[in-house]
Structures are given as structure tokens and as C-alpha cells.
Symmetry: D2
Subunit: 152 residues, 4 copies
């Protein structure tokens, strides 16, 4: 069996989404009027069970050593999770993070980063998601998060 | 884009494994001489970056409501993660868990359960893994864990 | 300032409890009829915002190296958190763990262990708790957990 | 026992610190030259096993509903944990976060917030800390985190 690719769990099936990438980006721009795009990122695609987001971090996002800082990564994780929830429930601004557990896996070098957010369970009150951040290779993520949102 | 299956991050590529399922099960039986199989589970397959394990929980594993208890699930998660580390580094008994974060996603009904453990990063000192537990549908996991092992 | 003891956040104030240590132990014995006391532990004291529990692990609780295994510690954490929730809301068997994040801090040597569970927030739907496990010195915990219970 | 204050685990004893609040603030200002104080906070006191920090969040820190955003809280948690590590090991810029698990407990209303960071274990390779954020009552934290730093 050695050498064989590791099977991944099948994606969550889910009903059609209520907001696409454009609608999500318009919503986020309204919701965070003070945030620059380089400190927040934007949605690239939205599908049932999955949102992909991208960010081109600016200089404020760096920490000693020239790496992208932990808070920048966590903020991006939270944005991708928020977008994934909104894609499924519609523009409900008051969905709020109730837990965010982030594991830093590899140094996050400067340059564009991508977030893949997948839904693990969408319940009536809570949404639980897996979010992975990577820079050039999705198979070598710089960080992995489990994020829970409370739905009002 | 609605209706399209959510893409999953590619699996971690990794060198050939050092222990296969049989070797792992023999090791675990030696390491935990007091444990019954129904309270610990066994390895079904081992490949680079991935171990699958199974468990047929016994009556001691139930909690009020007739569901499989949280500690049973977490013990099974820990076993699958331990097996995944050993598969890659060989029979090093003193690898120890340094963190286990478990999200309970759905009720875990009595009956056999499966664990899919995938490697997120295997470093010299730390291994970080994603572990998902499911009963009949891998797309509807009963729980998801992030597990870190310290390598001696 | 060196040498001064670190101030700890004040404990959570809370209304009077609904179950004391005896009531909690009777409830747990009923709820888990198959569990031996050495694999589960028992409540020592219950007060508003705090439960203390103790466990004398048996041989089945050991892992290679003769240490108390991770799943034993996590099961004990979960029991202490369950008791803390029940102490406040009364004998509601169907309160269930929704997340348990455990950090292993120090080797857990064989012998009696103590759990201190403190309430961080008791809401209508969710209870969030801090649980620390220690063997001889509460200032040197062997593990620390954050546990969330869903209240039906 | 009802009505009695819940006992808290004793603080971690620890050797004398290597950096006080002034030294930490000078170091952080150098390390993050692009950050405004209102987006990062500052150290109020440093003692063995404990650092307290404060932040007066600016408008960029708000999210829909006028609350202090999750990423702002997590960035503040990370800063307090970083300061606590540096206070003990000295000005080692390359200490990096390896995990940050944050539980949001209560709405975080606009206004100054305080972080209490306490050391759970300071090892040679890893430091594990508890960090609590509060606005007016330390007994009612708005969030609680467990943070692990890797020490180079």
C-alpha cells in the first residue's frame, strides 16, 4: 500500500448556496468599512460546503523574521469561515465566532496566501468548519484551523 | 458554481511508511496489554500520510442516551493518531500526545466506527494530524480532531 | 516585581448549586453502570463555579513508559466538566460535550490525580469550562483543558 | 460549601523575569514598526508566571454590531502570550506561536480591554499559556485562550 495517495474524507453535501463570491465580497466590504483589502482578503469562489479565499498581505502583516504574522493568518481564517457560513445562511451579519483553534504548521513566507474553508457540520445553532491556509502548495498547509460559528 | 462538489486539499506526500497495519496492531497489543480490543480499536490500513482504524465499541463505551461516549471517541482518535505517527517513524513507544482538540459534530450511535487520520505536518519534534471519526458516512463525521504528538 | 506571585483572575460568581458531591456521584454511578470507579473517578466537592474530582487510576489506565494514558486523563477531564455542568443545571443526563481541547503539560506519573473544573461561562445553550489535572502540585498541572458542553 | 468562592489553582512559580514591562514595550515597538498601538496593545506589568496587557481598540477593530472583532481579540491574546514568553526567556524575536485555541465567551463591547496571561508550563522547547481577555470584570472574561509558543 506504500506510495499510494492517502484518501480524503468525502466533502460535505449541502444544499445550494445563498451567496456567491461577488455577493460575499460586497457584504464584507460593507461590514468592515475600515479594513484594507490587504489586511482582510477576499472570496475567490463559493460552492456548497466550500469557500476559497485569497489575501495579498501588506507590510503591516509581517512579524520579526519577515514572516506573515499569526494574527494575520488567524484573521484570514476567521474571514474565510465567516464567508462560508454566510454563503449557506445568507447575509446574517450577526453570526459570530464562538471558537477558533489554530495550529501553525509551517513558516508563512511573504506573498499571496489562500484559504480553503470546508463545512464539517451546519446545524441550526452552530456551524463547524475546517480551514487550511497555504501559500504555494495546498498539500503543505502553513496552518489548519477548526472554527465554530454561532448562528443567531 | 452551485451544486459542484467542494474540492479537498491534496493529501500530504510523504516517504514510504515504516510499519504496516499488521506491525502496528502487533505493537499496540504489546503496548497496551490490559486493553480490550473493543475499548481501543485496530488499524485497518496504513499508507504514507494516512492511517485508517476501526473499532467495535462494547457496552462500557456507552453514555446516557445509548450513544458512544466522548472519552471512547477521544481514545480512538488518540490511538489512530499514535498509529499514524508510528507508521512514519517506526516503533518508538515514547512518542506522546502533546495536544488533542476534539470537536463533537453529530451524535455517535452504537455500532462500528472508523477513524481517518491524515498527516498535516511531520517535523523532527512534532507531528500534527487531522483525525475524523465517522459511523456510516465519511461525509458526515461524528467528530473531528487536531492532534499533536511530540517525537522523542 | 520579580518574585511576586502572579495574580489569578477572580473566580466566576454563580448562583447556588443544584447538586452536591454526593448527588453527583450517585448520578454518575447510575449513568455509567459499566464503568469501574478506577476508570472514571468521583466528585470530591462541588461549589458555585467549581468542582473538584479525584481518580485512582488502575492498571488499564497506563501507557508505555508506565504513565497514565492520554485517554484516561481526557476521560477524567470530561467527567469533571460533566459534573460541573450538572452541579449547576441539575440532573440533565443529555447534556453533551461539544468540544474538548486538551493540552498535555507534564508526564502524568501513576498514582491518584485531581481535577479542578471551573466555569468560564454558563449560558442557556452552552457551558464553557477550564479543567486542570494535577498529581501532587496544583501549581504544576499535568494537563489543562477547555471544555464546552451543549445544554439541551 | 455552596456560596463559597471557587478555589483557583496556585500560580506557577518561576524564576525571576528577564524583561520588565518597559523592556517588553520597547521590544514590541521595534519588532512591529508598522503596527499602531490601538491595533496591538501594550504591556502593563510583568512578573514571574504572569503578564498583564491592555489595549484601547480603534475603529478598525470593530465588526458588525459594533463589537470588538474576533481577530482583534486573537491578535491581542497572541501579543500577551508573546510578551509572557519574552519576559521569561529574554528578547528572542524568533519565538513563534505553534497553536492558539480561543474560546469566545461573551460579546466584547467597545472600550479598553485587558489580557491576563499566565504560564502553565515553560519547557525548553515549548511554552504553554492561559490567556484571558476581559473588559470590566475579570470574573466575566470575554474570551479564554490556550497558547503554545515554540522556543528556538
Amino acid at each position: 500500500m506504500a506510495g499510494e495517495a492517502a484518501p480524503m474524507p468525502a466533502p460535505i453535501s449541502s444544499s445550494a448556496i445563498r451567496m456567491d463570491a461577488d455577493a460575499l465580497n460586497a457584504f464584507l466590504t460593507d461590514a468592515f468599512p475600515h479594513a484594507e483589502r490587504g489586511s482582510r482578503g477576499y472570496v475567490v469562489s463559493a460552492a456548497p460546503g466550500h469557500v476559497q479565499a485569497r489575501m495579498e498581505p501588506n507590510d503591516k502583516a509581517l512579524r520579526p523574521g519577515g514572516l506573515i504574522s499569526g494574527p494575520t493568518q488567524m484573521g484570514f481564517v476567521d474571514m474565510a469561515a465567516y464567508a462560508l457560513v454566510l454563503a449557506h445562511i445568507g447575509p446574517v451579519a450577526m453570526a459570530v465566532t464562538s471558537a477558533l483553534n489554530y495550529q501553525f504548521l509551517r513558516p508563512c513566507r511573504p506573498g499571496p496566501i489562500t484559504a480553503d474553508a470546508t463545512m464539517l457540520r451546519l446545524g441550526k445553532r452552530l456551524a463547524v468548519m475546517d480551514v487550511r491556509i497555504w501559500s504555494d502548495d495546498p498539500g503543505k498547509p502553513v496552518g489548519q484551523a477548526n472554527v465554530t460559528y454561532a448562528i443567531p
